[in-house]
Amino acid sequence: MKILVGIKRVIDYNVRIRVKSDGSGVETDGVKMSINPFDEIALEEALRIREAGNADEVIVVSLGGNECQQQLRTGLAMGADRAIQVDSAESLQPLTIARAFLKLVEKEQAGLVMLGKQAIDGDNSQTAQMLAALWGRPQATFASAVELSGNKAMVTREVDAGLERIEVDLPAVISVDLRLNEPRFVKLPDIMKAKRKPLEVIPVEDLGVAPENDLQFTSHTPPPVREKGIMVEDAAQLVAELKTRGLL
């Protein structure tokens, strides 16, 4: 079985996000970029499935410009067998990404697609669900545990009310949550090996997918700045201060 894993290049979770002064987007100049943390967890799980003998090949896929090859190489260094960059100059929206994935699924005859539950930049949480619908296959989202047996997967999902266990038939789409696993560190020699692993570049047009722009960004604004607090002496002053501000 082949597993396709989606990995997106996003601003590193440690970076303080700054909105550009003209509101046209988020500052990425000189900013550290990494693999979306949820995607890294998806890749770790795929590698564990392969290491347990339940898959033959793990393929990492990223959609974007050449800069995302850096994240693909990291995925290869973690242990993926090969990588595909779907080359696109413009940033793609979830529906287009799902359509592109579907083409790759068909091309590779993948038995499982593993994705992060969302990317930490757009927070859309749509690609996995859309892909499952387009593909006509089961989906198991927000996975915190995955067990494979035969052509079925038992997936524990993190839902508002607690945990839910569902069984899905493969092929399927699984999107993963934070508690599924802790991704491995990359070994230095594996970085060198990753340089020699195959990385295929496919222009998005060659997949027969035309970028759609159903969503339009109108502006970006940072959250309002918190006002400076004051120290009050006692409860009476607190009440008084709240009253003068019309909060009580």
């Binding site: 590193d12 440690n14 970076v15 303080r16 700054r18 002064s21 100049d29 000189g30 900013v31 550290k32 802790e182 991704p183 491995r184 560190f185 070994k187 230095l188 020699p189 970085i191 060198m192």
Partner: protein, 539 residues
């Protein structure tokens, strides 16, 4: 350690360079330019190249011209020719411009972000075939059986606070190489080990350091004058403390502001962080930053000892270059060109002679050392205070360092005066309202990140001293000299002293001040897990 040492995986290179700063990258680039088939690797503890680099920086371009001819056709992301140069003397309320000493004239120089410059050099090195490994710390030296340096040991990952392996445990590998080049920058922790082991400093003065704290601001439109370079001396430092400020106007309304204090200050109550923040509130400075916001910030030590503190820079199997050797030119407050030139010179030497032997002599006969020799008396001249120092600086400058005398440096950790012998210094600090409020708020701008569940990388060799002698003699100076508030004394009735030291290691920005200034030399900075530490942007 020894039983696992045999099992460590090994990678072999012709040369392993520790640190992807300007020195290490220059050395790697030159080696590959001269000998393309040489296997060269660079190890960098920052998560990315540049993530741990903090500098001014106004740089002299000569060294880059030599290493990367035509570099200005494809310049680093921040690179602004210096247009205007000023130096001023401050009192608490006034500012007076003073004539710019020749070393500080900056015509022909460029304002850069050194972090961005390193991130720009790294792909050029990789294009030549250098293997750069950011996110990995060189945690130890690998010694060969005959006692020479034979490479480095990469730190283990996934070890918990108690030193036990976690689920993610990954043993660090060994990198073997006939020659190891230490380019760790100021107070490199492996360099420190090697200087002691091979007694490299037995014929030189102790190294001297300063700590530089810096912020990058986005200022209100109209305030930034790209290319303007401003320095000051005087307030808020008292006349017995050597140091000063820098303000570099970059592009896109960005201004770099920083403050450097020599670490041989004597007042245990002194806080370099507070001095910097007070400087920002000087009436001539504050308006620049009102209405602006901080983009990033952090701190790093700077080597100040110069010629007389330069240790022997070669030993069996290894060389020291850049700030790890101590090549910064203090009166110019510039070390970048020296770092690049020393990296280049080391590469030339290695390729010409087939190894590192003789590099100490090569460097001492080069313009790199001559530059240091000329200005050797300027910092120690300030040991007697600001006025005597300025006079010495004047004489040494006029005579170009030709007077047959050499003043000496003393170890910074020995300079604190015990509280009982100390006359209280009045510091009429103003109330501050510019960001950051305090050191914790400031650490936020360094975006520093360490997994909390790992061994504390600030080793206290004798914790007893902290709660007993240090409290009495100096009132816990670590709680003030650390710019990131890593050290805190916590009331703890369960202990004999009623207090205990808490180390907030996750805040550390890897400046190395504590390793240098702690008066008992019981703080040992070691590398945390690779990739941990600050994530500086454009510093």
């Amino acid at each position: 350690m020894s039983e696992t040492a045999n099992e460590r995986e090994v990678m072999e290179y012709d040369i392993i360079i520790v640190g992807a700063g300007p020195a290490g990258l220059a050395c790697a680039i030159r080696l590959k330019q001269l000998k393309p088939d040489m296997m060269v690797a660079v190890i960098e503890k920052g998560a990315e190249v540049g993530a741990h680099i903090l500098s001014g920086a106004v740089i002299e371009p000569g060294a880059l011209d030599e290493l990367l001819p035509g570099w200005l056709d494809n310049p680093p992301p921040v690179c602004i020719p210096v247009a205007d140069d000023e130096i001023a003397f401050l009192t608490a309320t006034s500012k007076r411009k003073i004539p710019t000493p020749p070393q500080q004239r900056n015509h022909g120089n460029f304002i850069v972000s050194l972090g961005a410059l390193c991130a720009w050099m790294a792909p050029q090195a990789e294009d030549l075939g250098v293997d750069i490994f950011p996110g990995y710390a060189a945690a130890g030296i690998r010694y060969t059986d005959d006692g020479a340096v034979g490479g480095v040991i990469i730190g283990d990952m996934g070890v918990n606070r108690e030193g036990q392996p976690k689920d993610t445990y990954m043993q660090g590998i060994e990198i073997h190489a006939p020659l190891t080049v230490l380019a760790e920058g100021s107070r490199g922790h492996l360099s420190k080990e090697l200087i002691t082991k091979y007694k490299l400093d037995q014929d030189s003065d102790p190294q001297a350091y300063g700590v530089g704290i810096k912020e990058l601001w986005q200022v209100a439109p109209g305030k930034c004058k790209p290319g303007t370079v401003q320095h000051s001396i005087g307030w808020p430092l008292d006349t017995s403390t050597y140091g000063g400020s820098f303000i570099y106007h970059m592009d896109k309304d960005r201004i770099a502001v920083g403050f450097v204090c020599a670490l041989d200050y004597s007042d245990p109550e002194f806080s370099p962080f507070e001095a910097f923040q007070q400087f920002k509130h000087h009436p001539s400075v504050k308006p620049l930053f009102e209405g602006g916001e901080i983009l990033s910030g952090g701190a790093r030590t700077i080597v100040e000892g110069g010629a007389q503190s330069l240790p022997k820079i070669e030993m069996p199997g290894a060389l020291l270059i850049g700030d790890a050797a101590g090549l910064l030119n203090l009166p110019k407050i510039k070390g970048t060109h020296q770092a690049i030139r020393s990296g280049t010179l080391a590469a030339n030497h290695v390729v010409e002679t087939g190894g590192g032997r003789g590099f100490d002599t090569t460097l001492r006969e080069s313009p790199i050392f001559k530059e240091l020799h000329k200005v050797r008396n300027i910092r120690p001249g300030f040991n007697k205070g600001l006025w005597r120092g300025l006079i010495t600086a004047g004489i040494e400058t006029i005579t170009a360092g030709k007077l047959p005398r050499t003043l000496h440096n003393h170890a910074d950790h020995s300079s604190l005066i015990k509280l009982q012998d100390m006359q209280t210094i009045e510091r009429p600090w103003v109330e501050r309202d510019l960001a950051p409020r305090d050191r914790l708020a400031s650490v936020y701008f360094a975006t520093t990140d360490h997994d909390e569940d790992q061994p504390i990388h600030l080793q206290i060799l004798d914790p007893e001293v902290c709660t007993t002698r240090c409290g009495e003699e100096y009132n816990y100076p670590c709680t003030r000299f650390c710019p990131a508030e890593v050290y805190e004394m916590i009331d703890d009735p369960d202990t004999k002293a009623g207090k205990r030291l808490q180390i907030n290691a996750a805040n550390c920005v890897h400046c190395k001040t504590c390793d240098i200034k702690d008066p008992y030399q019981i703080i040992n900075w070691v590398t945390p897990e690779g990739g941990a530490g600050p994530n500086y942007q454009n510093l």
